[in-house]
Symmetry: C2
Subunit: 212 residues, 2 copies
């Protein structure tokens, strides 16, 4: 196949995709068709990975008891986190995220196999964290592809990783990268919710760069 030619029109749309990708917490109840989810997962196989090790493991979660265990871990961690926060805002955001867990029709955990046979160990001897980083790029691939389909994704990180791994009965060596809610967003926004609510604002790239 000849290499694709990407033009200015595509680059403008790609920029719009980056700009309109959100961390979504409010979902409509409509299900995500299986074939659509399969299509998104297939794209993750194209993500970069250290030594071509593909160490990511997507665990779709439908069982109500397992979902309830994840929710319970979120509630426990969140209560602990709020103890350390003086701000009433923190409680607000916790509630928003809980709505995501309660509403999202599709949910999955992303795990990583920290010592995969695939890839023969190439490139990760001095920086073993590149294995988890590979899984993160697979997730980001799915996030962008989902947005291009009109789907929203929400990343839940206020969790006790071991509690989630136990609830999901995954192989003992796997580690949790994150837990994710996927579905049709109630609203489509360009501005991050944390920015709209005054929690934090986005800085320009120039302030995050150093020259050496």
């Amino acid at each position: 196949m000849p290499p694709p030619e990407f033009d200015d029109a595509f680059r403008r749309q790609l920029r719009a995709l980056f700009a309109w990708r959100r961390d979504v917490r409010h979902f409509r109840a409509d299900p995500v068709p299986d074939e659509l989810l399969d299509r998104l997962l297939e794209l993750t196989a194209l993500a970069p990975s250290v030594g071509l090790s593909q160490p990511w493991r997507f665990v779709t979660v439908e069982d109500p008891a397992r979902r309830a265990a994840v929710r319970a871990s979120f509630l426990a961690c969140n209560a602990a986190a709020l103890t350390g926060q003086e701000s009433a805002r923190a409680a607000l955001y916790a509630r928003l995220k809980l709505e995501g867990l309660d509403q999202a029709p599709c949910q999955f955990a992303l795990c990583v196999e920290p010592d995969p046979a695939q890839g023969h160990g190439l490139g990760r001897a001095t920086m073993p964290e590149t294995v988890a980083y590979s899984a993160v790029m697979a997730l980001h691939t799915l996030w962008l592809a989902a947005r291009a389909e009109g789907l929203g994704l929400g990343w839940v990180s206020i969790l006790e990783p071991q509690a989630v791994l136990t609830a999901l009965e995954v192989p003992a060596s796997w580690r949790l990268v994150g837990y994710f809610c996927l579905g049709w967003p109630q609203q489509v926004e360009e501005q991050p919710e944390l920015e709209r609510e005054g929690w934090e604002h986005r800085r320009a790239a120039a302030t995050l760069r150093l020259r050496r």
Copy 2:
């Protein structure tokens, strides 16, 4: 601004972008224009980050002495890695990667501030690794945007992180995520080099999924 509408044509091109993004090791000597690099870095500001903390720090490296120090770290780590490998192939890939470091007109380190003030700590109490994961998604954003411009990126992970941080004289709290080569690729390929050379082959997504 009204939300963008992404259609099938865009999704096909996005899939092609994922499929034709490579880890590039062979670069032409032509420089990467400053305004193009600036444009790519600007897009990274749109990447997702835990609590909107934007913890990534891009460090562009032009100073020959600093580049030489990075190269020396690569050589030292690589010699150590090869000791543990029986395969002659490992030496081949090490050489290919070294060519990237010697040829790439643009090079940068990606660092992370592990305890950023921005974001007010939201979302990272139980999973502090989400801070580094945010930086990885900023890098992946740049990687895709670079490919859409015809540029290739190569990730160098065979390094002693502290040696690189010292050579770059970055703030003491920063940690290294990776070191990257950016430039115009000598060849445009759909298949990963590790796959073409028989090191490893890509598995289908269905084998990397579990249902619960």
